[in-house]
């Protein structure tokens, strides 16, 4: 079994810290993985908003590259990329005709055999079993686990955790010594792809997410998605301006929390 990683664009740019923490974790737990060679952008929201075929072809190229390089399992830390890859795999499995068409577009064989893991699945499968041996400091904080949309929805396609009040991240955080709070905003949307085009909507939605976490006395919001992180963290000035508030609760990637 060879493990691949698909970092996705954000992790090489705006979410560099996330990328670093994933690799640091992998190193600390002696987990090796290969970057999918010459990977491309998954197309994100833009592609499926404007062009359905493109939105399937871009992820299909990534998956085909993984297959070509014998990567049976791919870790996808970005929740948005994770969702695009899994959805593509699902759509092409459902419709063999479409699969042929996309194979033709990407000029590559596509079988759809790779197993795609999101970051929590990866942690659960490879980190947690050896956590006790490696853990240095317990992460003794009250945390709000924020899953966002794309880790759990569409639930019937991703088939990961439960759609309402998911638990996997809470369980991981509990094992790290943290106390997850009962948090109704776990899967509410942060504004996602409107990060730049509609900062007002992002501020409004992300603000509600932050407000509830602060209100319930959380010390930090834990995320597993660079887009959520950037909306909740980088957009904090806009949020505070929009809601006339001064929220300062930190937003931490789940991998950073383990690294601490």
């Amino acid at each position: 079994m060879k493990f691949g990683i698909y970092p996705g664009c954000s992790l090489t740019g705006s979410a560099r810290d996330y990328n670093e923490s994933v690799f640091a974790l992998a190193e600390a737990f002696e987990l090796e993985f290969t970057q999918i060679p010459d990977w491309n952008c998954c197309g994100a929201t833009a592609a499926h908003n404007l062009n359905k075929e493109l939105s399937l072809a871009l992820p299909a190229r990534i998956l085909a590259l993984a297959e070509k390089n014998g990567l049976d399992e791919i870790i996808v830390p970005c929740a948005a990329c994770y969702s695009r890859l899994v959805v593509t795999q699902h759509e092409l499995k459902k419709d063999p005709e479409l699969k042929n068409r996309i194979s033709e577009v990407i000029e590559m064989d596509y079988k759809g055999t790779s197993r795609i893991l999101n970051v929590i699945e990866w942690i659960d499968k490879y980190i947690i079993p050896q956590l006790d041996a490696k853990i240095v400091n317990q992460f003794r904080y009250k945390v709000a686990c924020y899953y966002g949309c794309l880790l759990v929805r569409p639930n019937k396609v991703l088939n990961y955790d439960r759609a309402e009040d998911p638990q996997t991240m809470d369980i991981v955080m509990t094992k790290l010594g943290a106390t997850p709070i009962d948090y109704p905003y776990k899967t509410e949307c942060c504004g996602a792809g409107f990060s730049i085009s509609r900062t007002d909507i992002v501020s409004k939605l992300s603000g509600k997410i932050i407000e509830d976490a602060e209100h319930r006395g959380a010390d930090a919001i834990i995320v597993a998605c660079p887009m959520c992180h950037s909306n909740l963290d980088m957009r904090r000035p806009d949020i505070n301006k929009y809601w006339k508030t001064e929220y300062n609760i930190p937003v931490i990637f789940v991998t950073q929390a383990i690294g601490q």
Binding site: C9, S10, T12, G13, S14, A15, R16, D17, D38, W39, N40, C41, G43, A44, T45, A46, A47, H48, N49, L50, N51, K52, E53, L54, S55, A57, L58, R61, E104, V105, I106, E107, C149, L150, R153, P154, N155, A163, E164, T187, E188, C189, G191, A192, G193, F194, I196, S197, R198, T199, I201, L205, M234
Partner: protein, 186 residues
């Protein structure tokens, strides 16, 4: 012979949605749970359940209203509606289709200009480099949307934190990516 076979080809928007994305507007019984859970419903001119109702009428005027609406661009594809819909209607897929129809029929709502400008810039960025070039994206978006001053304060901080590359990363298969774009642009 099933009952549906008795129907002739429908020209309505609902008809094409049914054949293209396998979403049946008639399944909606207007409970409104989608609109109740939609994070952007209160910003929408037509909340999702209203879009469904308009589709059900199969009237050209109403189809037009949908394609010209701001709503279809405000949908963030958070999938909450599908997740809670008692009839399991795939509204997000339908929204993707509506956006494409709206563009191809040149009925895009003016207020959605920024959103589309961003999506276009995004795709432009990867069309040439294969990956997202965030600085390029922002600059291109500013050009397209004419939002010249937005986020100016963010950039230097990000560049200094290594979060915003000054130059794009080009993948090896840029020609490959360009062909994919070409083949999928119908």
């Amino acid at each position: 012979m099933s009952h549906s076979e008795h129907h002739t080809e429908r020209n309505s928007l609902a008809g094409s949605i049914e054949s293209k994305v396998d979403v049946k507007a008639q399944k909606c019984y207007q409970c409104g749970k989608c609109s109740a859970g939609c994070p952007v419903a209160d910003d929408m001119d037509l909340p999702p359940s209203v879009v469904m109702r308009l589709l059900q009428t199969e009237q050209p005027d109403n189809d037009d209203r949908i394609l010209r609406s701001h709503s279809i661009w405000l949908c963030v594809t958070c999938e909450m509606c599908l997740s809670r819909c008692p009839m399991e209607i795939d509204i997000p897929s339908m929204m993707d289709y509506l956006r494409q129809r709206s563009r191809s029929e040149k009925k895009v709502n003016k207020k959605a200009r920024n959103i589309i400008a961003f999506h276009k810039s995004f795709l432009n960025s990867i069309r040439f480099t294969g990956r997202l070039y965030e600085l390029g994206l922002i600059l291109d978006y500013k050009r397209q949307s004419l939002n010249l001053t937005q986020d100016i304060s963010l950039a230097p901080k990000m560049i200094s934190r290594g979060k915003l590359h000054l130059f794009p990363t080009m993948i090896k298969g840029t020609a490959h990516i360009a062909r994919i774009f070409k083949k999928t642009s119908n």
